[in-house]
Structures are given as C-alpha cells and as structure tokens.
C-alpha cells in the first residue's frame, strides 16, 4: 500500500513538474473531494460517480465498480498487478494496479495520455494499445465488436487491443501497454482516405 502510493505520487510528481497535469494537491478542495468520495463509495457502490475529477471518472458500465474502489485501497499483495505503460514519447510509467482494474481508467487515474472518447462503449478506437507479447495471449479473445473497432485504428498490429476492454487479472502481472505513436506525417504525406 505504501509502496504503491509512493510510486503513484512520484509518477504524479513527474507529471506535475512537466506540467502535463495540474497540481491538484495544492488546492484545499482536493482533499475534501478525496474524503467525500471515500465516504460516498461505501454508500453508492456501482452507481455513477457524479464528481468531476481532473482524472475524468467516466460514466459507463465496464469496470465502474473497480474504478471507484480504485487501486488506492490495494491492501492484499495477491491483488496487486504490476503494469507498465509506455507513453507516446517512449517513457516507461510503472503503475501498481489491482485485480479487476480497467486498463483505460487506470491510465486516466495516472495521468496517462490514453483517450477514451466513447467511454468504453466499443464505439471508437481511441484507447488503442499494443500489448506485450508475453501477455497478449493471456487476454480473453476480443468480442466481434472490439475487432470491428480495432479495424479502424491507425497502425493496427498483431498485438493491438482496445484498452477499455482489458480487465486486469493476476496472470497479467508485468503487462506492458504501449501507446501507438501516430507519426507527424501520417495525415499529410501518404494520407489514405478513411471512412467517416
């Protein structure tokens, strides 16, 4: 618990220093929000989280229960899943997550640049990630709807999945998720008309 908190706060500090995310902890409302949220969780399990946090709690069905409980209460070491995100600049961001966490919301919780435009409803491909080879086969097969959306993602690879469909299990410990680099020239040179 302490270790995961330390990792999170140092990663958060890095992001704050590089001014990617705002420094919420200097605001008095931050701790008020955290305390109120924890109190509310006990009463409102599984219901929509109406607090608007900087890290964007998204209203959807998959993984909502888990995202509310969050990795902040990872007491049991057997519940911990180590995840590494590799962002678009190649930076490795290790995260200590919990069994049941959703890869998209986990990324948001840690300020990682993974969009989720349709809020996990399999209506877009903005949460497209590459999964490390060792863990790719441990994921359950994508449902047809996920494959349909993946087909629209630029730079599709064999190990592509939609982040919003990946729920962490103990076997996925050590999983590495790489955010696709969409190159600068992708839409200018060699632009291929895409459907709309």
């Amino acid at each position: 618990m302490a270790a995961s908190a330390a990792v999170r706060s140092s990663m958060g500090l890095t992001l704050r220093l590089s001014r990617v995310i705002p420094d919420c902890s200097t605001c008095p409302l931050f701790r008020l929000k955290c305390n109120a949220k924890n109190a509310a969780n006990l009463q409102r399990k599984g219901s929509f989280d109406s607090f608007r946090t900087i890290n964007r709690h998204l209203q959807t069905s998959i993984g909502l229960y888990h995202s509310e409980e969050g990795s902040s209460n990872a007491e049991d070491p057997e519940d911990v899943v180590n995840v590494v995100y590799i962002d678009r600049s190649g930076q490795r961001i290790p995260v200590k997550a919990k069994v049941g966490d959703n890869v998209l919301y986990l990324a948001h919780k840690h300020g990682i640049d993974l969009e989720g435009a349709c809020e996990a409803s399999l209506a877009c491909s903005t949460c497209h990630v590459y999964v490390s080879a060792a863990h790719f086969d441990k994921l359950p097969e994508p449902e047809e709807r996920e494959d349909d959306m993946l087909d629209m993602a630029p730079m599709l690879q064999e190990n592509s999945r939609l982040g919003c469909q990946i729920i962490l299990t103990p076997e996925l410990d050590g999983i590495e998720l790489t955010l696709p680099k969409v190159t600068r020239n992708f839409y200018v040179d060699g632009h291929v008309p895409k459907p709309h």
């Binding site: 995310i21 200097t26 409302l29 435009a117 349709c118 877009c124 993602a153 600068r184 200018v188």
Partner: protein, 496 residues
Amino acid sequence: MGAHKLLFSELKLWTSGRGGWIARLHKGIGACGKASLSSCSPKVCIVGSGPAGFYTAQHLIKARQDVEVDIYERLPVPFGLVRFGVAPDHPEVKNVINTFTQTAKHSRCSFYGNVNVGKNVSITELQQAYHAVVLSYGAEGNRSMGVPGEDLAGVYSAKDFVGWYNGLPSCRELSPDLSCETAVILGQGNVALDVARILLSPIDILKKTDITQPALEALAESQVRRVLIVGRRGPIQIACTIKELREMVNLPDTRPDMVAADFDAVKEALKDLPRPRKRLTELMLKTALEVPGEKEQERRSKASRTWGFRFFRSPVEVLAEPSHSRIAGIRLAINKLEGSGEGAHAVLTGEVEDVSCGLVVSSIGYKSLPIDPSVPFDSRKAIIPNTMGRVKQAAGLYCSGWLKTGPTGVIATTMNNSFDTARSLVEDMDSGTLDVSAAKPGSQSISALLEKRGVKPVTFSDWEKIDNVEMKKGESSGKPREKLLTVEEMLHVAWT
C-alpha cells in the same frame, strides 16, 4: 465530518502552509505590471466547436499551463458533427461530448456560440486580437454529382438528409418526399449506410433516439421499402466499415438483396487483403453468397424491407417524370475496374442501365468552403493548404480536422489530426516562431467588437440551459432529448 468543517480545516492548512499558488500569482502580477494575471498568457482562438476544435483546445490547454483558448461557433450550440452528423441510433459515439464539456468548462477555455466568423468578425480581426487562430470549421458544403437532373425535387445530398433527421437548423425545411418504394443512394461510405439504415429502421427503434420529431413522423409515414446503395467500383473498394455493414445485415425486418455476379473476382483476392479490409469483405461475401440457414431464411422471408449494394455503377442522369414534377428514376453508367485494390479505378464501358426510383440521395462526400478571402484555400482539394496544421504563407494561422485533411475520418482520426495541429502550435510558441511575448487582448476586444455590431454570444452555461431543456422535453417521449430545431428557439432558451 461535515463537508463545511472539512473545507474550513483545509482552508486553514492551505493559507498557512502553502506558498506556491499565491507566490505565482504575485510573480505574475509583478512581471506584467497589470492587475490581471492572464494578460501575458498566449491567447489562441479556435473557429469551430466540433471534434477538431475541441480536441485542439484540449491538447493546447494540457500542453501549456499559460495558454487561454476561446472557441467560436456559428450556431448557438456546440459540438458540430457529433450533434448533427452522428446517427441518432449511435448514441455511444456521442459520449465524447462529455470530454468536450470538461474542456469547455476548464478555467482557461471559453465558448462563444452564435458568432459567425467571416460575417460578424473577420479572420484579420481575430488575428489582431489573438496570438494564433486555428480554423476547424469543417466541411459544410457537399460534392455535387455534376449530372443533369441533380436539382430536381426528390434528389438530396446526404449531408442535407442527415442534417434534416439530426435537427440542423438550416435543413429543417428539407421535407424529403418518402412516398416512393425505392430509394437510390449514390456512394457507399458510412454516411450512405447511415442514411440507408435510418430509411429502413423499424420506427420502434428510432422513436427511442434523439432523431427529430418531424423526421420521426415523416419516417413513420414513409413508403420506402427498398434501398439500393450504389458505388462506382467493386466490393473490395467499398468505403464503409464493418460496424455499419453489420448493422445493415442485422437490421430487423429487412433482408439483403445483392447481385452475386458483382462478387465474382472477390473470393480469390481475399487472402492478400489487410485485416480490416479482409473482415469487411468476408462479411459482404457471406451476406451476398452464402445460403442462409433455416432460421435466417425464415427471418428473410418475413422481412418487409430490402437493401442491397450495386457495384460498378456511376450516375449519368436523374430522370424526371413526364410532368417534371418528380423524379422517375436514375440512369447509371456501367463500369469495369482497371487495376486492383485501393488504387483500382472505374472505367466506363459505354453501357447504361435505368433504375426506377422516387428518391435519390447523393452521398459522395462533404466539402469545405472558404471562410474569408484573406485565408489561403485550395479549391481543387477543398482544403486549406497547410504543413502539419500550419497554414501555408500565413503566420499565426493553423487548421485542424476535415478542413486540414479533407472530409474523411471518424472521431478518432480527427482527434489525432487535431492533436497534431496543437503540437505544431505549441512547438511554434515554445521556439519563438510564434511570438507570444507581447500581450494580446483576446476576447476582450472581440467581445467589444461584437457588441458594437449587435451580436450577442452564447456562453457555455447558456448552452447548458438549452441542453437541459432538450433533455427535459425528451423525457416525456422516452427520448434522450428532443432537439430544438431553430436558432430562434435556441437563443430564446439561452437568454431567458
């Protein structure tokens, strides 16, 4: 612990211990010598509040802590094609509005609706007020077929048809004539499939969506029972994606009606196709050629409506009835394909065929229009000439979205496109290529200008009033919202 007690204790901690926030404020005031912290910040103006505008704003605000972004929108309501283009039966695609709402409500972002850039205020005036102007106003025109009879009653552009059922104020009076049995759609992209699906969907499905009430009523009376979706080239060149095709295949009370011969060369070509194209082609082949199982056969025999693709056909003339009061059909040229894959092109064979129909929808592409003579515009490609979002030969001017790359791409494509432009803009600010050292007045001067010209902007909270009214109106009929259909109604709600 009561919330207010918590707040008090937090405030005490905050004011006694924390210096950071206050120190930066004092530093800011000292540096500028002015009372307002924000007068030295780079100010960016974005024209257009669809996905391109909002994603550009989102990235700018995140990338630099000092940037202030103002988004101008011609209509009183934001969100562009997310509101007016995405089909009513695709509500999940519209979830992105939540992300855009967060951006709009950010302290460094402001929304100004009901402002017509090009008419109420010029690009030059915006450039004087802001350090940078980003054009993201999309594509409001459409490509014309360029054939005789195109202007007859009964021929509509898909852009207008979609605008009609989605409540775009300028398309309110379209009143398409749905009293015929057959409709022909030219074009086979996702927009064409959306139109086909809306024309053939059971009313019970549509009435639970945010489709407009007049469109719902018209579709309830519609006599259209057969929709043909026509393309110049073959199955392998089709522009739609698998999700939309699957929706047609699974549409209740409909059955597919394809021409088997159209698929002759397709099976052999399958193995060499990249995955997305392969899966799409496999589904088409299955739908067109496979003998259905008993259950599916029964479902098809009971279906009251049909839909099908017609390949290798280009429009040459829309045929009118003798009285010229309505259309009788469309004359199509028969093509053959030269080359293969994405690059294959259609070549006329000289043969034609006539298809009877009472409704023609042309879905061959949207088109951007120039906004202001001072902005470079490539009329051949119908885009603003640019390099990575920087408008050519126009310092301080940028573009994102369809205006930048042409009118194709889903929200995810536009997102990447807009982030790219934002990156270019931030690079230019960081490197000094774009000079942001001198303060600019931003919205202060533009607001004054607009007021002088009798133009009153709609703020984001004004939009939220419209939003609430629409959602409340929808409640009684079990719809997510009942859209307001005129600018007047929107403004009335916004300002009451």
